[in-house]
Symmetry: C2
Subunit: 348 residues, 2 copies
């Protein structure tokens, strides 16, 4: 894939339009800059609206993590499958937000450690159409994925991005579900930034101090185990991530490759974005940050990519919820650049 | 008026519901607290939705300020009327945002220094139905309003709030338009906080350093001129505010008195909220802060009221725009408390 950046010419045109609006210079603050970025991504001034019910689309990548059986999470692994069922029922946090803000939701089981045999055949087939394996390896003890599984997951994520774009996506979001997933995600960030686990690790859904220290140890062990393979981002995914995180990385890469902007969510989304930018430098130019999570690794990874979150509301729900909550901010930015009068129209 | 606070009993019920949702404890961050506040204001758990196109209503209070002729603004006073026409045409920043987010907009001329004779009679009648006077006094030289005009403006604002509530408002917003209005608004904040002008004054729509020092001098002179009358909040409005700011104060007071929550905007909205809370201590319990403006006085006044803004996007457009941009955050909070499953429903 050859990655083309958002259009510099369109960015200039959009910045000129912003400066010509009937508002005091700079008065739109970050909403002005955000609108210019959306325009540059679309190659269109003013940008097309994001109000169409098909235009903003979230894919939740679900999977289990071997480390979850090793004391890194406040919740048992069985919650992963229970939450997938809650998404399908539309009763989770992210589905409530998506309904409130007109965002399409798709849930995919990439690596949940169960088969969902209780679900109707058609629902199960849709949910598992890109499944890579049941659970991923406990990264401090073994590789998360084989090289083949890693490539399969990356390709699956890319295929999902193409499907969503074909369905009308003008803005993509990745969500996550998987008990234990902040451990491999923090490992991806630690590797990308060259930091010890203790500087990136966070409390996830709410572990105590002892579990936090243990979680940092698990991450450091995993990185030691991976050895020099961490210099290669694909090998890093095989050693330290999971089916769901590798697929998310493939999805984010393909979005950038196809020129569709992404609104990033919390740690999982951002760790995969950072990994995508390692694989294809420049991918991050297609990403904006929806919200600041309470996980230190998320903020560190965003800084590395030069991204500043739109919202900072202390959310740590995961699921894609922070990005979905930030979708109206992007719509605000687009509306301003589209609908505010030009000074020249008011005072001809 | 006897001010009743938001229901403590409902707040407790709402907090219990929040704790019983199928999400990790605290994972909803400020969205959880915000939903509980909306429920307490409504006296209803879960809170009623704010999606109805009549339920969120913005009133823009427009007026001119004598100080605008004295070098405190980057723009000439004639812009006030031009912007009122832009609101009516739906081509301003705040109207673009209101359309994007389903917020009703009403524009009222409380004290613009012109008669809008070019407008159709019905439009003009609606616009001016609560007009107090043409322009308000230059506060460093004379009172902004007579005592009678002040009471008229407060009553007009209260009447407007009642009309908006009767039309279906479950959340009210105040917006502003008036070249020079950050000068009287900063004066209100300086008085309420007992601070010198130099500590509260900001650049408004973009004045330079010399104009900023001059603006601080104008405010200090105005406060000196008002003398001991600043110990009384109504006298403060007469001496230091304007027809539009006094009406905004009446509107915010009546909202609190009628138990309808308000999402505050930038400096004008917040200065009037602080003054309302001086008139009726406890009014601020009915207010939430939509966004952080770049005006120092706004942040200082919010801190005094114990309010933390939902958005911080560097906006300094005024008009109510920051609050309108924050409306979807309130809707997110309500949606989560309404639509997320209870843990007890998932695991009976």
């Amino acid at each position: 894939m050859t990655l083309v950046p958002p259009s510099a010419i369109t960015r200039d045109h959009a910045a000129k339009r912003l400066g010509a609006l009937a508002t005091p210079p700079g008065a739109l603050g970050r909403l002005g800059e955000l609108g210019v970025w959306v325009a540059a991504c679309q190659g269109q001034v003013p940008p097309l609206p994001l109000d169409d019910p098909q235009s903003v689309r979230l894919v939740i990548f679900a999977g289990d993590h071997g480390v979850a059986a090793h004391g890194v999470s406040a919740f048992p692994p069985a919650i992963t499958g229970a939450m997938v069922r809650t998404f399908l029922a539309g009763k989770a946090g992210v589905t409530a937000l998506a309904r409130a803000h007109g965002v399409q939701v798709r849930v995919l089981d990439l690596g949940v450690d169960e088969d969902f045999e209780d679900l109707p055949d058609d629902v199960r087939a849709t949910l598992q159409q890109h499944k890579v394996r049941r659970g991923s390896g406990a990264i401090h003890l073994e590789d998360a994925l084989t090289r083949e599984e890693t490539e399969h997951a990356l390709a699956a994520g890319a295929a999902v991005a193409r499907e969503e774009i074909a369905a009308g996506a003008r803005l993509l979001i990745s969500g996550d579900m998987g008990i234990g997933n902040t451990t491999p995600a923090a490992a991806l960030v630690a590797v990308a930034l060259g930091l010890p686990a203790s500087e990136v690790v966070g409390r996830g859904t709410g572990i105590d101090d002892a579990a936090l220290m243990h979680k940092a140890d698990v991450i450091d062990h995993a990185i030691d185990r991976a050895g020099i393979r961490i210099s290669d981002p694909i090998e890093t995914l095989a050693a330290l991530s999971s089916a769901d995180l590798a697929a998310t990385t493939g999805y984010l890469l393909e979005a950038a490759g196809r020129g569709v902007p992404v609104l990033l969510d919390g740690l999982m989304s951002v760790a995969c974005a950072l990994t995508a930018d390692r694989i294809e430098p420049g991918a991050a130019a297609w990403y904006a940050a929806g919200h600041r999570s309470t996980e230190p690794a998320q903020s560190l990874a965003l800084s590395k990519m030069g991204l500043e979150p739109l919202l900072d509301l202390g959310l740590r729900l995961g699921e894609g919820s922070g990005a979905v909550a930030a979708v109206p901010v992007v719509r605000s930015a687009v509306a301003l650049l589209r609908d505010v009068a030009l000074l020249s129209d008011l005072m001809p």
